[in-house]
Symmetry: C2
Subunit: 429 residues, 2 copies
């Protein structure tokens, strides 16, 4: 190799005899290239057999040990995906603070700041959606029971104070959703993507509404039905194993918590049409709760490949513009609960770690490592602002049956004639 | 004229002798065409000299009387603009409920529902902006004193209860803005578009912050400076007669109430760059309060022509996507206060009507009619959902010095290492 070709991604040529071994030179170059890819992050990167060739000044957040040289080569080729795959395979280990390391890397990537356009978006057919959802949510309820709260709520919790327990915070989140929707006894609610049914059951029991809840995860629907029957709520909550596109009928409120991430931008308009039909009489209101972004970017490629195929976290602009605007639904209220998802994931991750040995017994070591990385990386993404969590309340743009203030219970109908100089708006209220 | 050419916009031919006079036939056709344009709205439309040729079944909201036949012709040509111009000129009068009539027309237009694209958007140069703002805001402080609240706040108020007075509601709005911005003593605030200075003075006095406030209306800035001096706040509030593009320096908070409507989409990115610089250290937070839409549409053409040249009410998508996203600011909170603007306008309009004779003396009858129509039409637009009012709170996407919940005073810094299995997020809080 001619020395004139020496550049960023080309290994240096062997030195004159008496210098370091060529393999050492390659290793040193490759480890440095990897560390540069991670950004200005104090992390050690080393090969298991060999000295620490990539020292950092000051204390490191973590040390990445790469067990095989082939892993090093793979990492150079496609670091974002190979890091995760090597971690699962055990070809790469992290000592120290995994969440802190990933948070620092995400922060560096965010502040590098290029606006990467999102990947071309393809519509998910109902059967594709079913396969994607099956892969993640039908792993087995026993597994989720290990580290979720007692009601199996697999979405961002709401901690009234940071010291609330996970169970308290999931109940508080469901209360928050009910409060934002202003549910009243006797109203009809349609829920799209209902998980194990906790919110549907909570709404029926706490607010006296009737709920029709949809989900395409077979295991979750079976669990939810069984629970509703056990709690004597079968006449008030119907769980339907079907796609959101199959939703029919109208309701006083539409709610969807943690489903929009799985819909994909190509189908936002289809979802909007469904919501528009549900709230078809120009009344009612709805709530979308979803993982989002501050700028459009594809989901982390390893997460897309191994954990959530087909998933995409939208910006507010994409969600509002794609789902709500075309059917003239207007935003009444948005709340960003990003730090609450970081706190939720911290609970999940620690509960998961406390039972890691059980998980390895139920599945295997690579399954345990995959979920450990996924939970750690997700917590880091919310800590670093790479991911956001939005709750969006909306209603038909022209409807006046909307809350007067956030603090006012119920709603007010201010529709009515305003005679010039005579009875005016404030006389109607 | 051949009878075969008879169609929607062509007057009918004269009937055989012994039938009605041809002018009557034209009138009847023209009045019916006008009423069709208004949509399914129970309104009578008649010529001053002649019978009511356009009867409605049931009670009418209002009766429109057209005083000259030439006005009828103009209305057919360009109804949206000519209605306002004829109203100003006194060539057209409305008896009955003007707000109710306009609300019904706007509702009909909204539910007709075609998504009209907004007009091509041109950047406003600072001197154009100055001219546009001068035309409306420099009419004379004495005029605004007649019908605004005692502090001259010319933006949507916040009524804690519908029975609050206008003065109470404007103070409550300023308190709401301070609360959402979590202002603390000693912090620095930059305000863009400060009107007569009420909010800047309120923030300085109630929250102990220092404020630098910008405005290009000469009369408003002169008034604001005089008031700050009178109230002994000259060292804490600086009023600068300049364009938002001239804002320099950094601050803990950025706020702009009622200016974005005047910026225009072509300059959203310039405004975003200004805000990004103000919050340049990745901390701080901001609030935009603006009149918006649920779907993109140009402002009413008569309002654009006669009242607010250059104005455009953006959708949330346009505002967030245009201003915040490019500089990686993320939305923390959105509140829609549409009905509060309807209530605010109801107060303004009634105070204005109570002093209409004074306004006619200060200016003339056509000025009084123009403002009566503008205030009535604006109230109708917020009642019908044709206009919305958004308050958007935002912060740098990666900043963790953000409020924990809406109810939590102050903010929390959750940044910090989370050791796997060891000290976690919730130990940091």
């Amino acid at each position: 190799m001619d020395s004139s070709s020496r550049s960023g991604m080309t290994p240096p040529p062997p030195e004159a005899s008496g210098g370091p071994h060529p393999a050492d030179l390659f290793d040193r170059w490759a480890l440095e290239a990897l560390r540069r890819h991670a950004g200005p992050v104090p992390v050690r990167v080393r090969l298991a057999k060999g000295p620490d060739l990539s020292p950092v000044s000051g204390p490191a957040i973590a040390t990445i040990t790469i067990n095989r040289r082939v892993t090093l080569v793979n990492l150079l080729r496609n670091p974002d995906v190979e890091f995760g795959d090597a971690f699962i395979a055990g070809d790469l280990e992290v000592e120290g603070d995994l969440v802190g390391l990933l948070e620092a890397v995400y922060r560096a990537q965010e502040s590098a700041g290029e606006l990467r356009p999102r990947h071309a978006s393809f519509s998910h057919s109902p059967s594709e959606s079913r396969a994607q959802i099956h892969q993640h949510y039908d792993v087995g309820n026993d597994f989720y029971r290990i580290w979720l709260d007692s009601q199996l709520v697999y979405t961002c919790a709401y901690f009234p104070s940071p010291s609330a327990t996970l169970d308290e915070a999931q109940v508080a989140k469901m209360d928050l959703v009910c409060r934002k929707l202003r549910l009243r006894p006797g109203e009809r609610v349609i829920e799209a993507g209902c998980g194990w049914g906790a919110l549907a059951i909570h709404m029926a029991r706490q607010c006296g509404v009737t709920v029709t809840a949809y989900n395409i995860s077979h295991e979750q629907i079976a669990y939810a039905r069984e629970r509703a029957a056990r709690e004597g709520l079968r006449d008030r909550v119907a769980f339907i194993e079907d796609d959101y596109r199959a939703i029919h009928g109208s309701a006083d409120a539409f709610v969807s918590v943690g489903m929009l991430e799985h819909v994909g931008p190509a189908d936002y308009q289809a979802l909007g049409a469904v919501i528009g039909r549900v709230l078809g009489d120009g009344r009612g209101r709805g709530l979308l709760h979803f993982i989002g972004r501050s700028r459009p970017r594809p989901l982390n490629p390893w997460i897309t490949k191994r954990i959530f195929p087909g998933a995409y976290p939208p910006t507010l602009v994409e969600a509002i513009g794609g789902v709500l605007e075309p059917v003239n639904l207007t935003v009444l209220d948005v709340e960003n609960l990003r730090l609450h998802y970081a706190a939720t994931l911290d609970h999940w991750r620690r509960r998961f770690l406390a039972s890691a040995a059980d998980v390895r017994r139920m599945f295997d070591a690579s399954f345990e490592r995959a979920w450990r990385l996924y939970l750690s990386g997700s917590q880091a993404a919310f800590m670093s602002g790479s991911l956001q969590l939005f709750q969006v309340v909306f209603a038909p743009a022209a409807g006046n049956r909307i809350p007067w203030t956030r603090d006012t219970p119920g709603e007010y109908d201010v529709t009515g004639a305003c005679n010039e100089g005579g009875a005016g708006l404030d006389d109607q209220l």
